[in-house]
Each structure stands twice: as C-alpha cells, then as structure tokens.
C-alpha cells in the first residue's frame, strides 16, 4: 500500500518552486531587468524550454517506464518514476549551482566621489591657486583663502588642507583679486574689475555683491586698506574699467567713484598711508606720462594732481618698493626708472641695468611686493636691487636658479621678511630672509619631494609665534603641476593635487592580469565566519542591524569585493582612468577607490621647450589579452607653447608602471591626430598626425607600419573643419613628401571635397562624429509590424550644427525671427549631405551626442523660450527590400555586404523634438562591451549634476497614443517635454562642480558601463542602464535563501510525520 500522501511534499515543493520561478522570471524578463530588445525573446525562449521539456517527459514515460505506471498504483512502481524524476532534478540542481557560481556577486558600487588620496576624506578640487590670503590672527580655526585659475574662491583648513567652503564662479567671472576685510569678510574682485563680492569668512555665505561701472578694458586692482581691519571708515578701493571706486566694506555700498576714462588713465598703484585719509593714486597715461592723484578717501575729492611726462615710455610691470616710491622699466626694458611721489611731487631717477649687472639683456620685474627691494629677472638670473633713500639702486644679491618669491611679510621688530623657494633635483629649498638684511636667514629648509612636481610657481608665506617666542614660518607653494603644498618645519604638512581640476583628456586602461603566485586576498573563511557574515547581512536586509553591525557589513563588503586591488577583475570593474591635465601631468586613477596609482609630469626631449602642454591622449598599444607579458601604453600628444603651429612632442607612457617608455620631439606641428584602424605585429596602433602645412605624418616610424599603411593608402580619408570660415574639407592621401627635410613617413594630401556654408547666414558652432571604438550589436531594428529598418551605421558621418551669425551670441541677444539653427549629417568620405534639418527661431549653444545611427542634440528654442532636445535617427533605405525577419534570422540578408560611401545609398531619417527644462554642459552616452544593453544618455546639467535619461525617451517613434503592440515594445507615449526624475541623477546629491566632460567606457560585464565626469571635481561611478541582469547584487541574502530551504525541509518532515500518524490511525480504525 502506498499512501497518496507521499505525493504531498512533492506537490508542495513543486508549487513553491513554481511560484518562485514564475514570479522571478516575469520580474526578470519584464521589469527592465533585461534589455528591451531581449525581453520578449527570453520569454519565448523559456516557453520553448517548457515545450522541449514536455516532449522529453512524454518520451521518458513511453520509452522507459511504461511498466512502472499502471492503472492500479499498488501494482506498478510509481515511486521508481519519481526517483527517476528526482535524479534528473538533482542533475538540474547541480547544473544550476554551477551556473549561479559562475555569476559574480560583485554589485555596482554606490557612487562615490573620486578623492585624491584616500576614500572617505571627501576631497574636492579647486584648481591652480592664483592668490592666497592667510587668516591666522584669531585663535580659532586657521585658514587660508585662495582664488584659482578655475574661478574658484575657497577657504582651506590650514592644518589639513580640507575645503571649508568654496564657490565656483561663472566661466567668464575670472577672479582678479582676493582679500580679507574687517576680519570677517572675504572680498573678491572679478569680471575684469566689475564685480565685487563679499563672502562670510566662516561659512562662505555671500554677504553682499556690488556691480561696479566699467566703460573700457583695463587691468583691475583691489586695494583693501590695512586700517580697515580695525577702522570701518576706510573704504575698499577698486580700480577697473577706467573707474576708481570706493566701496564700503560693511554693506557694499558705493561711496564714490572717479572717472578716469577720458584721459585713458591706467591706475598702477593705490597707496593708502596708515593714519591718513589721503590716498595716493599713481597711474600712467598712454604709458608715457606719470600722474599722481591725491584723493581724500572719505569723499573722493581730488586734493592734488601732478603729472610729469617721461619721454622714454614705460613698459607694463611695476614694483612698489615703499610708500612713496615705485620702480618701473622703460619701454626698451633696459632702464629702471624710480618714480618718487612724495607729497604729490613726482621725481624720476633712471638707472641703466647694464650699470648694475654685466651682460644684461632684456629685464623683467618680478611681481613680489618687497619693501625697499626690487626683484629683477635678467638673463635667467634673479637680481635683488635695494632702493636707497634717494632712489639710488644697488645690487645686493642675485640667484642663478629659477626662484619663486613671496611678498614680504611684517615680522617682529618692524622688520619684514620674505621667502624664496627653488628646487634642485628632487628637493626644494625654502629660505626666509629679512628684507633689510639679506644675510640674515631666518629659516632654511630643504624638503624632499615625494614625486616630480616641476618648478615652484608661487610662494605665499605666513608667520606664527612659536612657543619659545621665535618666529615660525609656514609656506604655501604652488608647483608647476598645479599642486598645492603646505610646508612647515621642514616637512610637507599636506598637499593637494590641484592639477586634476583641469583635466583635458581621459582614456580608460586595463589593469595587469593577476599572475600565479601573486597572493590573492584570502577568500576562504571557516563555515562559521561565512554563516556569521550572512546572518549580519540578513539583519541588514531586515533592518535589524545596529550601527556597529552596519559598519561591519560595510567593511565586509569592502573586503570581499577587493575593489582597490591592482589587478584586473573578472567583470572588468577595476580599471585605470588615465587623465591628462593642462599642466602636462598624467595621472592614473584607480576606479575602485579613486586613489592615484601613479602620476607623471611630461618631460620635453627638446631643450628649448621647458615643459610641453598636454593636448590629447590616445591608446597606443593595447596588447591582446593573451599577451600577458606586454604592458599597454598610451600616446600623449603635447605641444611646446600655446600656438597651434608650435612643434609637437610625443610621449609614450607605460600604463602599468607610469614610466615614460620614450618621448620624441617630432619637429612638426600638430593639428589633428587620427588613430587608424590598423595595428602592427606588436599591436601598436598606427596614427596619422596632420601638421599646419597640410602634410600628414605616420607613426610609429617603422618600416612595418609603412608597409601596412601603403597597403591601405587609397582607403585613408579624413576631414578638417574650419569653423571660422565655415568650410569643411575632405582629404585623401596623395603621395610622399618631397623636399630635403621630409622623410618617408611624411605624405602629402589632396582635397576631395569641400562644403562651404554661406557666411552671411550660417556659422558652424558644433561638429561631432561617432566614437571610433563604439560597438553596435545589431544593424537591424524590428518594428512592431514585423518589418525591418536597417540602421545606417557608418563611421564616416559628421554632425554639423550652424546658426545664423546673429544667433551665435548669448541667449537674449537675438529675436526669434533673426536666428535659425541648421543641422547637417555629412558623409566625410564623399562630402555628401545626407540630411539637413532646419530649426527656425532657435539658437545655440548646441550640445550633441552621436551614437550608432542617431544624434541627440540640445539647443535653445527662442520662440518657446525653452531648451529643446531633438533626436535624429538615420536608416538605410537601399536595403529596405530585406524586410523579412526570417531572412535576418536565417542569415539570408545582405548585412555583410560591404557598405561603400560611394554607392549613394538612399537614407531615411526620422526625428522628433522635446522640451528640456535645464541648460546642459555636456552630453554623453553609455557604452557597453557588446552594445546589447539599452543605452542611456548622460546629461551634465548646468547645476553640475549628471542625469541619466533612457534612450527610449528620445525615440522618434514615440506617438501620442501608442498601439498595444508598440506599448509592448516599450514605446513611451509622446510628451512635449523630457522628464527629469530626481532619482535618475547618477550623481545623487553630489555635484561635479565646473563640469566639463563625461567619459564612458564599457566594463567586461555587458550590463555595466564606467562613467567618469571631470570638471573642477572628478566623479566616477558604474552604471547598469538596464540594471545588472547578468549578475547577482551584493545585497543578495544567502542566509534568507538558506533559512527558506531549512524551513521547507522542516515543513516536509512535519507533514511526513503527520501523514504517518494519520495513516496509522486509519489502519487502527
């Protein structure tokens, strides 16, 4: 007798399993877990699996176990049948476990800000420091106020270098001066002396803002009187735009202004003598006449005025050496002129530089403000000249090395001291001397630098009283690589890598493969540890965890994920971000924790060029992943000087070690660098570099590369954009260069086509092509009604946006009737315009992104006075007859047929426009390894946040009322504006201040993409546009799974016992 109750546990288990699997499967397929293109396929595939299983099951029943299943259960062996089923299921379980083990359990990380040295310190960047003012008087927190070339004003903690507060001003709002007034306000002068702002010193809140009148361009000057620190009656004096303004420090009220525009008077110095309300204003008229005004600082009235013409003329630099004397250079830069203006009287005294130093050339006055001392740079030597009582000059000291100096600083006993810093090898020498007595060295320190940072650019010193009542000094120095260091007591107290605030180009590189023998972080724990860990995680998911538990979970996650390891991982999550900065320094940042793995300052092989500026970065050598022993390398293209015709410098840098493999001075200019789709046998990529003469040069300069190139000689095309003239030209190769200087790697070119835009109606404001390394998964797009559209996927498409010349200015400067925006899609091989779309009443700036067969661009609609986003998708019509999906599936289509730009293909474009509620700084698109995952647009908004917007929202096929079939395909009903969902900000509540660019790179895991954004701040995160459908999340609770299984087993046991009992009682009945 076999009880039917035996079937009960099987049925329960089967039911639970069914419930679990069907819900999970549906979630998996339909709720955005899979890319849209795969979801319906996957559903049908699972149905196919069911069908196959049904077939197999009936086959098993008929073929093998006929005799076990009989009409009367007691006669057959139904149990055998179920044993067989159990065995098969066990096999399946083994297979499932193997599959799920192959899944990596790493999760996408919570986004974190890349920090300079270590995680959790939450450091942001400010940029290269221009001015620094110390605030150490009070006993409270010691701070230094800095303003930078990136238009940042910030308050830094002097002890640790952390940012107390900072403000990034607008791009056109360059800071001219910064100072502290009344002991509680930070005063900044910006926008060429036309905007004066006061910020609250402790928290950075803006207190007042005053717009100053400016009529002409002139240099600007901020003068905060020393008296102001105690007495409120003295105003802040500001010169800018031809006006001298006196502004009250308390509320920013304009007290008086003096118009100097008429005479062309340029104020050079404003001297406020302590204890007197008379302000001396010294300036030049047309660089040849010196004028001194005495102005009453309370009323703005001119008390006295005196002008003397100096026949030799002045050059720009001026050094004020005392309260009544300044020294300038004459226009030939060979005579030093001391101008005394004691009591409003002007006297000149001329001294030839050749009288002071031998072999003198052109001189240059260095900027520091030193009392009674003048620093002059002659012949790469810094000469200190003492200015005597009657304007007599004598040389007191000279330094042969390039030295940076600070302003002088009052120290005890009415003496003034200044600091000078120069570097020697890997050391820097800091000296603090008394101004009156250069022999007295108050401080002499040599500090070992941990890395090469180049020369010292700027020094700011500050003194403090030591416990033994002697003077101590701290120096803030700005290095050539823009880094900021605080030196105190012979050591670097802190340093900030401010070079990273001006990243110019970024590429993403692989880490080394983990080799055998290299110790791997210990993974295996005891079973108890493992269980404990999972119990903790369970607590976390059930929100029962205490704060300590949460910390423990965090730590465990950090440890288990091994995020900061310096080896390649299975999913391609750990990579190196190689960033080139404007200072010509290369940084490698680890994606795991954002630390700097290595950094390298570019060197110039050319002796005449001090330090090349970095332009761009290319992947030079990417060894195939089987070639483990080869290190990849990047090509850094630099330039000696700022002019585009300046000679270029190439540098090849090993990505793993950060060492420069070689560098070369290429002897020609760099206009355009074109990576070619060919590599040589050592996997070096061929690059073409175009120079200003219209020649191109092939790199690497090897015969092998030349052979490869000559084979493809006819197939190399490129284009140039002359935005100012409105011309786009297409070029092809012609022949080798002739002339004695040319080598065999130089080629001449011929012009194939030109597109000329009418200059009176169109001005090029933006051009864009696809990323050359982008992967396109499928060329065909299946419509709802089963017909196919073939994407026009061409690498040679150029997107060009032009506006009417009137509309090229700012928003608000043009009426809708006057401006039109026209976009073009141009084939860069033939110059054929594939598509032209005109937007009347619209203007730039245009921000665009180009991927696969679509362009999305953002511009301003003047009529609606809103921003708009338009998508243009381009399809190939010539292959439209292959409408049959079956042909595509069975491979009988002509997708593999070569596409030639010359076969004038018919194209079909679709476009649609939407409103967008924000200004945009940059747009990028996610990129994944195989291009299967659906794409997201990454929109860097004016608020310095990054918004992820599904590509489905910018789909020209959106209609107001999509049909059922279209809805199933995932087409969203058309709305007039794109949604801004706050949760879709990938930066969450962080800001990437001063955002300039967004870079994406694929991870090895198809679902995931790396996102790196740079500006003044750096930001890195990993995104999964369609969620991580190919890996389990880190939060996955194995303990919950375990508990469920245990509970099920217990339930089975209990029901078994119950059924036994019942059976027994049945029998006894």
């Amino acid at each position: 007798m076999l009880s039917a109750m035996w079937l009960l546990p099987y049925m329960i288990l089967g039911g639970i399993a069914e419930a679990l699997i069907s819900v999970a499967q549906n979630e998996f397929f339909y709720s955005d877990q899979l890319p849209n293109s795969l979801s319906s396929v996957a559903t049908t595939l699972s149905g196919l699996g069911m069908a196959a299983a049904s077939l197999v099951s009936s086959w098993i029943v008929t073929a093998t176990c006929r005799s076990w299943i009989t009409e009367d259960i007691d006669e057959g062996h139904l149990d055998y049948y179920y044993w067989l089923m159990a065995a098969l299921s066990l096999l399946n379980v083994v297979y499932f476990v193997w599959c799920s083990n192959s899944y990596d359990q790493n999760s996408p990380p919570s986004p974190d800000l890349l920090v300079s040295t270590c995680r959790g310190k939450h450091q942001r960047y400010i940029g290269k420091v221009k001015h620094a003012v110390f605030h150490t008087q009070k006993t409270g927190r010691k701070r230094v106020i800095v303003s930078t070339e990136q238009n940042v004003v910030a308050s830094l903690d002097l002890r640790h270098g952390e940012i107390f507060w900072r403000h990034v001003l607008g791009t056109k709002d360059a800071i001219d001066g910064v100072d502290i007034a009344l002991g509680k306000y930070v005063i900044t002068l910006s926008s060429e002396g036309s905007t004066l702002r006061a910020w609250n010193l402790p928290d950075g809140q803006m207190v007042w803002e005053t717009s100053l009148h400016s009529a002409q361009q002139s240099k600007s000057l901020l003068s905060v009187p020393i008296n102001l620190k105690v007495d409120k009656d003295y105003p802040i004096l500001v010169f800018g735009g031809g006006y001298l303004h006196a502004v009250s420090a308390v509320d920013g009220e304009l007290i008086w202004k003096k118009d100097f525009t008429a005479e062309g008077f340029e104020v050079q110095r404003v001297l406020q003598t302590p204890g007197s309300s008379i302000v001396y204003v010294l300036g030049f008229i047309k660089s040849s006449e010196a004028v001194v005004y005495q102005i009453d600082s309370k009323s703005g009235e001119v008390v006295a005025e005196k002008s003397v013409v100096f026949p030799g003329g002045f050059s720009g630099e001026i050094s004020s050496v005392s309260s009544d004397k300044v020294v300038v250079l004459d226009s030939t830069r060979s005579i030093l002129v001391t101008i005394g203006f004691l009591d409003g009287d002007i006297s000149f005294q001329q001294t030839r530089i050749s009288d002071l130093v031998e072999d003198s050339g052109k001189a240059e006055i260095l900027s520091p403000l030193l009392t009674n001392i003048l620093a002059v740079k002659v012949n790469k030597r810094t000469v200190f000249v003492r200015v005597g009582g009657e304007g007599k000059l004598e040389v007191v000291d000279s330094l042969s090395d390039e030295t940076a100096m600070s302003d002088s600083l009052p120290v005890a006993d009415e003496q003034e001291a200044f600091a000078s810093v120069h570097h020697e090898g890997s050391k820097i020498h800091l000296m603090v001397k008394l101004v009156d007595d250069l022999e007295t060295v108050l401080l002499r320190e040599s500090i070992q630098m941990d890395q090469h940072r180049g020369r010292v650019h700027k020094v700011f010193i500050n003194n403090y009283i030591k416990t033994d009542r002697s003077n101590g000094f701290r120096a803030l120095i700005v290095m050539e690589d823009h880094s900021l260091l605080l030196l105190q007591q012979g050591a670097i107290v802190w340093s900030r890598e401010e070079g990273l605030a001006s990243v110019t180009d970024v590429t993403i590189a692989e880490l080394p493969v983990e080799k055998d023998g290299v110790s791997v972080a210990k993974v295996e724990h005891t079973l108890l540890d493992w269980l404990q860990g999972h119990v903790l995680k369970l607590k976390g998911t059930l929100l029962l965890a205490s704060p300590e538990d949460v910390a423990a979970i965090q730590e465990m996650r950090m440890k288990s994920s091994g995020r900061s390891k310096l080896t390649r991982d299975h999913n391609g999550f750990r990579k190196l971000i190689i960033a080139l900065t404007r200072a010509g320094k290369l940084f490698a940042l680890h994606t795991g924790d954002g630390r700097i793995v290595w950094s390298m300052l570019l060197n110039s092989p050319n002796k005449f060029c001090e330090r090349p500026s970095g332009i761009s970065l290319y992947q030079w050598q990417v060894p195939h992943h089987h070639a483990m022993d080869e290190n990849p390398s990047v090509l850094v293209v630099g330039r000696c000087g700022s002019d585009s015709s300046a000679p270029g410098v190439l540098s090849f840098v090993d990505v793993y070690t950060g060492k420069e493999i070689s560098s070369s001075d290429i002897g020609h200019s760099v206009v355009q660098v074109m990576p070619l789709p060919y590599t040589d046998s050592t996997e070096q990529r061929l690059h073409l570099i175009a120079d200003t003469n219209g020649h191109v040069h092939l790199y690497p300069k090897t015969s092998e590369a030349l052979t490869i190139f000559q084979r493809e000689f006819q197939n190399v095309y490129w284009y140039t954009v002359e935005a100012d003239d409105g011309i786009i030209r297409g070029h092809a190769m012609k022949s080798s260069c002739s002339g004695e200087t040319a080598d065999e790697y130089c080629f001449t070119t011929r012009e194939l086509w030109t597109v000329v835009f009418p200059s009176e109606s169109e001005k090029i404001i933006s051009t864009l092509t696809r990323k050359p390394n982008e992967v396109v998964h499928t060329q065909a797009k299946v419509n709802t009604d089963q017909d196919l559209l073939y994407k026009y996927v061409s690498r040679n498409l150029l997107f060009v946006a032009t506006v009417s010349p009137k509309g090229a200015g700012e928003i608000g400067s043009v009426t809708p009737e006057e401006s039109a925006l026209v976009v073009y899609l141009i084939d860069t091989i033939t110059g054929r315009i594939l598509h032209r779309l005109s937007h009347q009443g619209c203007q730039g700036p245009v921000h665009a992104v180009f991927s696969e067969n679509w362009v999305v661009y953002h511009y301003f609609n003047l009529r609606a006075h809103k921003y708009e986003v338009t998508v243009v998708e381009i399809y190939d019509q010539s292959r439209a007859e292959n409408k049959n999906v079956w042909k595509l599936v069975l491979g009988k289509h002509n997708l593999t047929a070569p596409i030639s730009s010359y076969s004038r293909t018919e194209v079909l474009t679709k476009s649609q426009s939407y409103f967008f509620a924000q200004s945009v700084k940059s747009i990028a698109v996610t990129s994944t390894a195989k291009g299967i995952t659906s794409k997201q647009l990454l929109i860097g908004t004016i608020g310095d946040q990054i918004l992820a917007l599904d590509k489905r929202f910018v789909d020209p096929r959106r209609t107001l009322n999509p049909s059922q079939a279209e809805k199933e395909e995932g087409i969203i009903p058309l709305t007039d504006s794109l949604p801004i969902i706050p949760q879709a900000y990938v930066t969450h509540s962080l800001k990437v201040e001063g955002l300039r660019g967004i870079i994406t790179a694929p991870a090895k895991l198809e679902s995931t993409t790396h996102v790196f954004a740079y500006g003044v701040d750096l930001f890195y995160t990993r995104l999964a546009p369609s969620k991580t459908y190919d890996s389990l999340t880190d939060d996955f609770s194995y303990a919950l799974l375990l508990i469920t299984i245990v509970a099920l087993v217990a339930a089975i046991y209990i029901t078994w016992v119950l059924s036994e009992k019942k059976e027994l009682s049945e029998k006894w009945r």
Partner: protein, 194 residues
C-alpha cells in the same frame, strides 16, 4: 520683494537693468526628508544655491536675505535658472522692455504662469535616493509569492475537510461514471512537463 526700479543710463541707446529677485524661503509644507535637510544644511541654506542667467552667461549667488541681483542686463528676453540641491525650480523667462524703462515681465516657463511679484519658489522638492521600504511581514504576505503560498496552505488544509463532507456513496457513483467514460490517458494522470 519687488523689482528694483533702479536702472542706469549711460547713453540713450544702452539701457542696462538690474534684475533683482527674491528667492522664497523653502516652504515647510513641502517638507524634505531628513537627509535632504542635512544635504542642504539648514544653516548654510543659501550658500550652495546658484542662479544662472542665460545658460551660464552670468552666475550669481544668494544674499542672506534670499535676494539675488543680476546687474547690467540689456533689454531683451532672458532666461533665469535656479539650481539648488534638493529642489526643482522652473526656469524663468524675463522680458526686459526696451521702450518702457524698467518694465519687466517674468514667466515661469515650465508651468506657463506669469509672475506678478518677483518671488521664485521651488516647483517641487527633489529626492535623489529611493527610500528603502521597511521590512514588514505583511509585505511578504501580500507579494505574489506570499499569496500563492497562502492559497496553497488553504487548499492543503481545507480540501480534505471538503472531501470529508462529500457523501461516500455519491463519490463512488461519480467514480463509476468516470471509469465508464474510458481509461484516462497517461498524460492526464501525470503532472507532466512541470
């Protein structure tokens, strides 16, 4: 609270205005969650807010009383955007009249509403994080999985009770009838395929 009527006249063809607006204090009705309050910081509430004119042409900051000013704005149509973490502000279209001095018209472009007094307030708060649902047993029961399990439990324990209520003789009769209809096929006996 009103537009500053001050404008400067340099020469007759160049009239520049100062645009002055009050950014309203965030209303307490749209109460942001606690982590937003800390993200913005109650004390330094205004210090992280930027006001942008014409997509970056000018950037200004708020004064402690919530006012902000754009100086030297020429006549024409302009766009003001406010960026405050945690809040969404509609861009404002500002028409500065060239003919009538100081006449300024402001419109919220997102909701197409013109502003009578120059006070900007946030359209809505923005929450950048999704709140995690707290664990509750009801949520598990209410999930499709839980419903299925519950139904199964009901069936397992109630069906036998129903069976007991059926008259045994009637049961026998039905079974006879079924048998007479023919031998049931194998597939209907088996819980096939699944």
């Amino acid at each position: 609270m009103s537009l500053s009527s001050s404008f400067e006249v340099d020469n007759l063809c160049n009239v520049d205005f100062n645009l002055m607006y009050l950014l309203v204090e965030f209303s307490t009705s749209a109460d942001p969650s606690d982590d937003f309050r800390s993200a913005i910081g109650y004390a330094a509430k205004f210090s992280n807010i930027k006001v942008v004119l014409n997509g970056g042409q000018h950037i200004t900051f708020l004064r402690p009383d919530g006012y902000f000013t754009f100086h030297k704005v020429p006549a024409g149509t302009h766009l003001i955007e406010v960026h405050a973490l945690g809040y969404f502000f509609s861009p404002v279209r500002v028409d500065v009249s060239a003919r009538h001095r100081g006449k300024v018209q402001a419109t919220l472009t997102e909701i197409r509403r013109s502003l009578t007094e120059l006070v900007l307030d946030p359209l809505r708060p923005e929450y950048y994080y999704e709140m995690r649902e707290p664990f509750s047993p009801m949520a598990i029961v209410k999930s499709p999985m839980g419903l299925m399990v519950g139904f199964m439990v009901v069936v397992v324990f109630l069906m036998p009770k129903l069976m007991e209520n059926i008259d045994p003789e009637e049961m026998k009769r039905t079974q006879e009838e079924l048998r007479n209809q023919g031998v049931p096929s194998l597939s209907s006996l088996l819980p096939a395929s699944r």
